[in-house]
Symmetry: C2
Subunit: 563 residues, 2 copies
């Protein structure tokens, strides 16, 4: 670069990662020529807000335009070119081939540094009818407009949402709020497949409580269209059919890597563009960020795709600085932290679930606690279930999931922060969190979960997973008979009804009635949420029993679906 020819930075994709890269590059370098190419009409729009405009929680469409092209030109002197699609990269000549979508004209743009932020595209099933006007995905403003127009039409009564991930669930919530009779179809036997099944169950329960028809373990096998090319009926893999006026597909995304593949850039094992710690691809003059790129994932240390807005924004900012100056901090690991609200229940997670850990071949243990979001004696406390997943040998935190009312996001953010430091459950047990009755508890749910994990590591307590096998065990329910009657531990009879059934001894009577139990039998204790079970397990262990406490008690156990 010399005085007569400024550094030219070309950025492909103008939403989260691309826009962050462009603005940071400008702040770092007033002299650079910064060209922002976006194939669609809008840049820097509120991706994550789209469902809420359909539901009219965000009434004004303009609110979704976080930064318009005009704004970016004015404030950051960016050369924003919308409806410009990058179609190939000539790495040797360091130029990008660009099609102007309105005219199909092809131009070539030279670059010194190229930042790829092409995002991902919704996966569409290869089925007849999938291209009907009322079968839509929700990825950009034009999708939003089309879905909203159908919802706004008074003739629209029914909707089918396919895919129970974040976008699918948010869309269901908003369609129900707009008064549509909604069906949610999910291939997996649970909603939110990134969560362990019992942690996703309260979300499913909340959806069904809102009279959404929930079709789990099924996929769409066909669309019936009318003469106007409108889908009128969806057929599922079990042969059932659902009449509908609208289909929203939310079955996942595939990264837009064609440009990178054609240019010979390295692709990672998870199918994203391979990057180094500065978000550089295998060509150091080309960066990749956002949904199409790979990141280092904290729990495993491996590189993988993480299609979330937070990492995209931070990686974009970092790549923008590196491209503009040749220097930046390395990109931190990402934990895959996320949250979704579904009516009155929210679910948040970070790192890996127990199921995901197993799939990744990572040895994992877990504990589950049920606790209130703030002091129970202060009115309005809401319950949450918090599951902490960790390495049994080292105690390293591998992930956490929280589902419930208010405050699940806070607990997951605290744990995600500990994970950023490769923290252990022991370190987590010592975090000093803010407490006043409207905000938390002196022993926060985070502490309770970490205490339980430390107890398990230290051999103070053994936990039985909520889906653990109780067959052949001496199962002791330490709740009161009245509580047990209200919410029996599912799937097992009482000892009074059947041999080998559950023995009922309230915790406060356990010391006096310990003679009723056989210390030679492997024993499981259970209560409502695990607190009394902990006390009971300690009593029995000190009396020589081999005993485990059912993690999360009957509350969580009863969310498990057994075949």
């Amino acid at each position: 670069m010399n005085a007569t020819k400024p550094l030219t930075i070309v950025i492909v994709g103008g939403v989260a990662g691309g826009a962050s890269a462009a603005t940071r590059a400008r702040r770092m370098n007033e002299n650079a020529e910064i060209i922002l190419l976006e194939k669609d009409p809008d840049v820097s729009f509120a991706n994550c807000g789209l469902p809420y405009h359909i539901g009219e929680e965000i009434p004004k469409r303009d609110s979704l335009l976080v930064a318009t092209p005009e704004f970016l030109r004015r404030r950051f002197r960016l050369d924003v070119r919308t409806r410009h699609e990058a179609v190939s990269i000539d790495r040797e000549k360091k130029r990008v081939e660009v099609r102007r979508n309105e005219t199909s004209e092809i131009i070539w743009i030279d670059y010194d540094k190229l930042i790829l932020a092409p995002g991902a595209s919704p996966i569409r099933p290869k089925l007849d009818g999938v291209d009907a006007d009322n079968v839509l995905s929700l990825r950009n403003l034009s999708d939003t407009d089309r879905i909203k127009a159908i919802v706004d039409n008074q003739q629209t009564k029914n909707a089918v949402v396919v895919g129970a991930g974040y976008i699918g669930l948010e869309t269901v919530e908003q369609l129900v709020q707009r008064g549509l009779q909604t069906t949610l179809v999910e291939l997996q036997p649970q909603v939110l497949p990134l969560l362990d099944p019992e942690m996703a169950e309260p979300i499913a329960g909340e959806i069904e409580a809102k009279e959404v028809s929930l079709c789990l373990g099924r996929r769409v096998t066909g669309f019936t269209t009318d003469k106007n090319n409108q889908v009128t009926e969806v057929t599922l893999s079990d042969g059932s059919t659902i009449a509908t006026d609208l289909v929203v597909m939310g079955i996942g995304v595939q990264p837009n890597i064609k440009l990178a593949v054609d240019a010979g850039l390295e692709i990672g094992v998870t199918g994203g563009i391979a990057t180094n710690d500065f978000m550089q691809t295998s060509d150091p003059d080309i960066y990749a960020v956002g949904d199409a790129a790979e990141y280092r994932f904290g729990p495993t240390g491996n590189r993988m795709r993480v299609a979330l807005a937070g990492p995209a924004n931070r990686a974009g900012r970092l790549a923008g600085q590196h491209a503009a100056t040749g220097n930046s901090d390395p990109m931190p690991t990402v934990q895959g932290t996320s949250v979704v609200r579904v009516f009155g229940v929210s679910a948040a997670m970070t790192g890996v679930s127990r199921v995901t850990a197993k799939r990744f071949g990572v040895d994992a243990a877990s504990v589950t606690i049920v606790a209130k979001n703030h002091a129970g004696y202060y009115p309005g406390a809401q319950m949450m279930t918090l599951k902490l997943v960790y390495q049994p040998e080292t105690g390293k935190i591998l992930g956490a999931q929280a589902v419930g009312g208010a405050g699940v996001d806070k607990r997951i953010d605290v744990i995600a922060t500990a994970m950023q430091f490769d923290g252990t459950v022991r370190q987590l047990s010592g975090v000093d969190l803010s407490y006043a009755p409207p905000f938390g508890s002196a022993k926060d749910p985070v502490h309770m979960a970490a205490f339980a994990a430390c107890n398990q590591i230290d051999g103070i307590e053994t936990f039985c997973d909520s889906d653990g096998d109780l067959a052949g065990k001496q199962v002791v329910d330490v709740r009161t008979p009245a509580e047990i009657e209200r919410a029996p531990l599912a799937g097992l009879p009482l000892a009074s009804e059947s041999e080998g059934g559950i023995i009922v001894i309230p915790v406060d009577e356990l010391r006096d009635r310990i003679g009723e139990l056989d210390p030679s039998l492997p024993t499981i204790v259970s209560c409502a949420v695990g607190v009394r079970g902990h006390i009971a397990a300690r009593i029995l262990k000190q009396h020589g029993f081999t005993v485990a406490n059912l993690s999360g008690g009957a509350t969580v156990r009863n969310r498990v679906k057994f075949d």
Copy 2:
């Protein structure tokens, strides 16, 4: 210890730390004799909930009884002795002298391990009238009952609360909710003296908006009593008087260390009982926890008193385990994390403020940002001001303060968690937090503050503290003229009105109008909250200016009180 004589653990004080110690000790050791001595009638009550019962947010008094003596006896086989006051320790014979407060009978109780959790007592000024029936502190249930009886009395119209710390502010809130005309008196020139002045200002503003009379920088110098020994008037140091029916004293606490001092146990430099990492005092068979003990404080590494419920509970649990088994994890450092809600505004903090850092002789820098608690395009976003205090050389986080609406607790908890790992602002900038529009932003306020701090450390940006001296500087306000008219930067005229005044150049015009500024002058840029100032500062710096961005912009600057 042998089979015939079980380990005897005596615990002095049955609230947060003591009760936690006793129950953990029992869980760890079924055979120990565990004696819990409490001088008052109640154990394990909800200390932090007392103001809310006065205000009837917690309507039932029973809700404050987290665990009754009967419950602790039944579930944990604790020998709970209320109205039993430990009056001396005979360390040689390992026994405690105890007075039964109802009979004044003296008994001696032997111990193998002794845990001191005596708490702290409210400081009472030595003034005539301070012992009047309507001059009360708020420390236990009997205080609560007495204050509530006065508030419940329909004749009670006015109240004076002395001390604008957490308890004082919570009490003010609740008295106002009960309809009392309330005056708040504070010796310091600000509320919440642990916060930097400009961070406490929104709390003061909220209090005044609720028509509380706020008397800062004054202390109580006298009480006027009537013939019934009721205070009717409070005299302040400025000679003013306030008629009142009730006085609540919340001017701080002193640790109850007499027992420890008399026993010759080491007292730390901050006046608390000295402890090691296992909460053992200078006598290894005696532990101390709670408000009377000292903890290792994260930001300085020094031992100091931290009178908060969270550390008390965790230290009690740890000491209980150590006393019962001889083993435990070491007590983690504490950060002094806390939060208070005052009507619609909350303030949370962790570690040290800028002012406290200075008092501790710790070199500190800070940045202040103003941001919304969640995506601005999603309805209901609330503003918060977040100040991050750090070591300028290493970037180590020393503390943070947040004031505003919803979500201040979450941000402080995230930062406190990073501090638990001796985290730096650079590490904090990479935390992967959960994001969806109702919960946060892709770039969270925590990230924005950490980005700003990193920019300052890296020399990318220099910040001018919100109370910095602007005299002799070229001050440029980069907001639009309309904005400036609505909320001018306090204390400085515009350049159009006076030589040396503020130059107005909206950020979007700065590049074209840069010739209007003198690059040889030290320059300060300011906007509403610091975001546009950041862009402007980067433009000017790259044009050779020595420039600083006013941290938090006019919003925070205008909260500073200049003499």
